[in-house]
Symmetry: D2
Subunit: 356 residues, 4 copies
Amino acid sequence: MKRIRDYGITIGSLETGEKNLITDVKGVKVGHVTLKDGDINTGVTAIIPHEGNIFKQKLYGAVQVINGFGKTIGTIQLEELGTIETPIMLTNTLNVGTVSQGLIKYMLSMNPDIGVKTGTINPIVGECNDGFLNDIRGFHVTEEHVFESIKNASEDFLEGAVGAGTGMRCFGYKGGIGSSSRRIKIKDEEYTLGALVLSNFGVNKDFILNNKDINSMIHENNRDLTTRKNEEGVENILEKLEKGSIMMIIATDAPLLPRQLKRVAKRSVVGITRLGSYLGNGSGDVAIAFSTANKINHYEEKVSTEMKVINENYIDYFFRGAAEAVEESVLNSLVAAESVLGRDGNECKSLSEELK
Amino acid sequence: MKRIRDYGITIGSLETGEKNLITDVKGVKVGHVTLKDGDINTGVTAIIPHEGNIFKQKLYGAVQVINGFGKTIGTIQLEELGTIETPIMLTNTLNVGTVSQGLIKYMLSMNPDIGVKTGTINPIVGECNDGFLNDIRGFHVTEEHVFESIKNASEDFLEGAVGAGTGMRCFGYKGGIGSSSRRIKIKDEEYTLGALVLSNFGVNKDFILNNKDINSMIHENNRDLTTRKNEEGVENILEKLEKGSIMMIIATDAPLLPRQLKRVAKRSVVGITRLGSYLGNGSGDVAIAFSTANKINHYEEKVSTEMKVINENYIDYFFRGAAEAVEESVLNSLVAAESVLGRDGNECKSLSEELK
Amino acid sequence: MKRIRDYGITIGSLETGEKNLITDVKGVKVGHVTLKDGDINTGVTAIIPHEGNIFKQKLYGAVQVINGFGKTIGTIQLEELGTIETPIMLTNTLNVGTVSQGLIKYMLSMNPDIGVKTGTINPIVGECNDGFLNDIRGFHVTEEHVFESIKNASEDFLEGAVGAGTGMRCFGYKGGIGSSSRRIKIKDEEYTLGALVLSNFGVNKDFILNNKDINSMIHENNRDLTTRKNEEGVENILEKLEKGSIMMIIATDAPLLPRQLKRVAKRSVVGITRLGSYLGNGSGDVAIAFSTANKINHYEEKVSTEMKVINENYIDYFFRGAAEAVEESVLNSLVAAESVLGRDGNECKSLSEELK
Amino acid sequence: MKRIRDYGITIGSLETGEKNLITDVKGVKVGHVTLKDGDINTGVTAIIPHEGNIFKQKLYGAVQVINGFGKTIGTIQLEELGTIETPIMLTNTLNVGTVSQGLIKYMLSMNPDIGVKTGTINPIVGECNDGFLNDIRGFHVTEEHVFESIKNASEDFLEGAVGAGTGMRCFGYKGGIGSSSRRIKIKDEEYTLGALVLSNFGVNKDFILNNKDINSMIHENNRDLTTRKNEEGVENILEKLEKGSIMMIIATDAPLLPRQLKRVAKRSVVGITRLGSYLGNGSGDVAIAFSTANKINHYEEKVSTEMKVINENYIDYFFRGAAEAVEESVLNSLVAAESVLGRDGNECKSLSEELK
């Protein structure tokens, strides 16, 4: 499968990790369940933060809500405590509850103490609306798909119209899952930062590819790549506004604290605005970042512990890495996703067809 | 059923509404489904904000996270857009996803356009952990209970160990659902503000009733009213810390904007700290407020509309009303709830037994 | 000078530090400049966080804005970076700029690199409005008073109508500076948490002292202890609402991170609501917390450093300590402050006269 | 004086206002005091929101802190109450206190009731660090300059190295004051949105002009346009990171509520990231937005009032307008500013010299 660099387009100046995937951060794995059958174009994607028991060994994390027209769950506790204690799941907007229940059941199956000898669990589930290509009212995702996507998780994973990305569109093209990574070398220390996005945002006329207006570059008639049937009235007018959403997951092995991770997550905005987003009202743009460096024991007995912390004077390297990796992840999602004919004859073409 | 005023205890100085319930705010209704069978002590409570189609006619709303050790969903969009577009549901922590799915299905059944001709829906579901009295790992709440609780909604409703409150405990006593209201008279305008709480917070030794330490008042041996079996190790130590949570829903017919509603919601903290809470680390304390005064049409065609807005110079009346109504709601939940013997022989006595 | 404990009133259950002052936290010092002459009743108070060069060795800090009707400066950077790099100064509302300039000049005098070889400096200056007793329009505080208050700083300091507290009132009584501290013992580790307040909030009829309504306790005719001359119209009506403000400074030697310090600062609300505050619209209630445990070097060369961090499972001890210390600090400010006859014949009586 | 459009560069798709200045919003005026003498390169800029008494007739406003390494004052109250009650002043970082005092004195001179018959005043003063070109340690701005800049305010005003912009640099070029505006036409309603920036951010190698890397476009040897003398050690290394800051003021005559204005202010980030900013750690990026449409009377007697409010379904037009106007404002600041030789021989060239 081709990636954006295969088209001669390079984003930013930092070196990529080995696979140029979020899984370049050691311990991180990604798994998909893809549901694709006529009007059904949806799925689940699981990001596993480390290989151990994530409830018993939490990681520092943070969320940055860039535009809150979204339904991601688990963010209140993430903001308050600065820790993640489950895999991060992605799915379609109307199945967030289902995936949340599936994730809770998965966590309970691994932790018999939850809800009996200790407290409960905070599931993190992000979403985008795939209703253009998917029969989203059909609720085709099940709790079992959560278990399956976690079981599927691996360091190697597909991009494009897979998992939660199966029915997404982005800048009028077929969107979905994309990923990228950066090496952060400062003096004699080296870290990795990786991103994974679920891209479902932007309008075609705003798309900027490689600093060029995509329309002037490759369109002859400014034709709309998305074809929607049977619409009228006010919805139709509003439909032309920026809708969709994007979920951006950032992982790093650098010892960043929750406050620092939030600052890094905020820089994801650089990646999407450079591609043409105006952070539209209807777009739920949410970034979640976590660090695998410090583990926080659920049953920690010590009153105080030692933590490694990145010197804030050097945090700009991580800002730049996050911005670059998010921008490249979106582009990877676009070129990896094949054209899809979905719900009610709605169709999204692949950007790869334009770039041929 | 006795309420706290029947014990000669009055909170604050403002006059109550007619029923002294959140449903004194015209249009608001509350419905319960109570699940009570041996180890099962849980349920669902629905707060209906107005009698019309809440998705098509949204209300201004706001959320104030007082302590974010909680799993309430729907808050990102509520914070960004300042509107509620579904009933507000309450349940146990591990069934938030289930109730979310049920609520989405209910909303879709009323709105065939959602997910096809227009965007999706933002369900609001709050929770507390009833695992002490309830077999919370059994997931006894179903999507059907959502439909049922909404169908049950009425201006008259029970308090105490009912609905989502069935398995809750508060200050070591049986907690649950409580409500109260206040009349806000300013010059020649009159408004109503009502509160409903799901009380599940506080430790017994901290409880202050009517400005008196409950232990010095009615306890002889500072005995612990909650009896927990078979625990040891660090959980047990931590268990003595403040846990639980409280959900506080505030309704008013005064035309408050989202920013103003957030300020009012924040004053709910006055009610719970005066009763003895220290806003413990493990307590998810979340307040949601909404106003029935201005309705925001989903398919509004006008570019600008006229709104009534309360003069901020008078907002103190609403602050005071919220603080009083929340404090009294908690006390009503405590005296209304009968003693419950629940999961694994765990037991919570009713405060009403102490006050006899 | 008598303190609240000398009246037989004890707040909370934790043991106090040796002096029961914020300066029980090793390294912290407090200095005042008191301006008192007829209509002039104002001043400056400096809280010195540690004895070294605070710009070169910053401390972790956090701010919690409880109600933002206030003009404290320095909070944007404190929130973003989580560090304090100057002493914290308190003064009257209309002299915040003056004190800020004085503080900058003080810092520049100690650091010739600022503004030339390195960046600038973030002064933190809090305020309350002492206009009732003070000729606040006269701008009687000067930049020199900043240098003087820092020079005066010591582990021993006065409470009551001194420094920034000279012209403040609180619950209708004379308010001002108050302080208190708590020992936090967890297993074999022991820490100290101290608070200092500038009290200028609350209305007399709401005051709760030792869980008793102050009016029913000591007032015969609910007489108003503050006497204001020559007012009419809408201001007068609004004047009866809760106004004023409170600044709450919390120091600890426990290694709390900025996110944790913010959570601790938030619990200051418990102290003031238990005394009767409804967090009135017109009251700027702001808490700032810092930890002396970890020092962050301005010119740190290391890419990552080791930090001690308190286990969040034990943070409730600090929440409780902050709530207790803030409540006791307010009461200490009230009993320490003598009656003052100020601007235009306005007068505030001392609570100590009531308790005699 | 040439502006960016005179170089054939157009930003975005919306039509500009008549002057393409923030003062296209009726009632808004801008005034400068420029201090330029050898090592002194600094000043003050005043943005007057409307022609009446701004304290007595407040406007809705909001602040969005994009990166909080900054010292802007007045934001706590702006965030809480959603109103501005003074002109918005801009100056250098170390004179914020001075300008704040000057602004307070100006407001007191217009309002004899402040501090006597009513409360105090919340001055809003933003800043950037001009220490590279200016003797910032010399504190050359005085309170009188505030009065003078307000007196100078007019609908016509200069851009570039004037007022607060006198000593700023941006992307390695001479920066300063820039402005732009957009017409927002929706159906039969028409509004104006204008921006004014104080640009002092970005590093040269990141600058993107008209979607082109500025270095590949006009630099032959990637030479650094800023020349700094006599530096060594860690500061020097860090100096290469993104520093500076940008203040972005957005005005509109559309009836946006504070929550909506905050959302609009947030879109200013689109403008600066498209020009090459990574929102660097050391850059204080702060946006303030206000609406002239609804006026809020300080002594309002009515309990509730009527307000016009923009339908949120159309807010994307304002998002786009803000993004475009901010981006163009920065470019206008760059081409308007002439080259400056400042403090200690430090020098910044004008972008206009490159574009000739």
